[in-house]
Amino acid sequence: MTNYLIRRLLWSVLVVVGVSLVVFFVTHAIGDPVRIMLPLEASQEEYLTMRHAWGFDDPLYVQFWRFAVKAARGDFGDSLWQRTPALALVIDRLPASFLLSFVAIALAILSSIPLGILASLRLRSLLDRLCVMGSLLGVCIPVFWLGIMLIMFFAVDLGWFYTSGYGTWKHLVLPAVTLAALPMGRITQIVRSSMLDELHRQYMTTARAKGLAEGYIIVRHALKNAAIPIVTLAAWELTRMLAGYTIIVEKVFAWPGFGLLAMQAIERHDLPLIQADVFVVALIVVVLNIVIDFVYAALDPRVRFE
């Protein structure tokens, strides 16, 4: 157990180091970082001054060593745009992104489990067909388009919610639903198919023969055994959200999380801020993967760490 944990942590550290390496080379070796950060009308003199001041005229390995030493201490330099430490800016935005993602994944799981169970119990019914259709649509609809369509209908036409911004629950509804809609379709599908696998097992017959209530059997016996693939997918969806979809949804709804911050940093060519943002997102993904491993072990006694 301890052995596994140590190896897992070492591997995670390696992944995070790998990510920062790639980010360093992308931002330093491809293209000219100084040109990108300076305004277009900057003179040659200003260019050379900045190049020297930021140390971009040093050999690449010197620059990398400097970057690595600083990054290890969580220092990515000051944001060009806000003139304050970049990492602190990203961390300030974490609560908003976490709120959005966790509400969205909770919404997706809480709605897809009953839907999936009902669909598996009433095979080929209207509900079942709707679930299958829904999950197919979930693969085809671009998330940003869904967001704008929801804004058009519920915020502009009906006026129920706000079109964008942050603060009250009325701000949260539309972005959370947008983010939850597509995972919901996919999770419903997996709940349905893994429940179908379990419903005809022998232990179900045994449980029925003992005279247990049908609802109890379905939730306590079948659902518990079907949980592994469901948790796998839900975890994967949460990871994908934090590493990608949240960024797009935050952009659509002007939701002030790290995704919107990344987009703002990219629009302003703010390299330190971009580096800090990518680093934090990678860290979140890695930590999340470790947590998921432990959730598996808790759910399935057959899983043993080696």
Partner: protein
Amino acid sequence: MKSSPASAASLPRVRVIEEEQFVFWRNLWKLTQYLIRDRVALLGVLIVLTVVFAAVAAPLVAPYDPTKQNIAKRLTPPAWAVKGEAGYWLGTDQLGRDVLSRIIYGGRVSLTVGLSVVAIAGSFGILLGLVSGYFGGRTDDALMRLTDIQTAFPGLLLALTIITMIGPSVRNIIIVLSINGWMVYARITRGIMLSLRETPFIEAARAIGCCDRRIIFRHALPNLLSPLLTIGTLELARIILAEASLSFLGLGVQPPAASWGLMIADGHQYITRGWWLVTFPGLAIAITVFGVNLVASWLRTYSDPTQRYRQIRTVE
């Protein structure tokens, strides 16, 4: 059939080729028959063919020049809606450009990016997967570690960072999406190659003295084609969506050129005055991806012998 002044020695060879052609046409005919029976797959194929045709023949099909502005007619609703104007089937945008024409031209971008990325990422991933699956050992370990690391990457953010550095353009989108997309092929190819390596026919090929290259490309690769075709089609759908997202974020095709994602980004600012600006490009994306996905699921059934047998029996 024309007779050719061929020598007697080359005659049998000619006949073999003719027979092969015949088999090809007969297979194509059978394929069409299955398609007609399978309504859902037919729908998918029709959608894909329509999109491909519209994209290839865009100058002939599109009613207007997609970049021609007409400020007098800006934000005209679709022809069939209230206050719509005949000729503008899907309305005009904030600069008076025809939305339908822009959607038709936008399809070119989606398909160019989609097909290029599938070709580039596909060939690279398959090659790597073949090599690491066949030889195993260190290469294999290194490759699997690499794909492990890359799956932990925040792909979208990294793509955005790279595009910021090298500048937004169609070519750069293709590069970035290829870098992000080759692992799927590598993993799947490697998996199948690992099990193929132990099969009798590969062993036989090795026994009669085939070199590794010949075994990999002439014996193993043909057996991989059908699963890879399915993956490639699924990836095409995914890439079309990814391109739309990058263009929506302003990092793809630059104005005044048209792309579906860019049109939605532009329309986003006019949602109170023109619902058609966002609705139709989004529908174009959704329907195209839907069609490609239907084709993929059909390919999966069709290339699986047991499933195909069930379908053939319903046809014959």
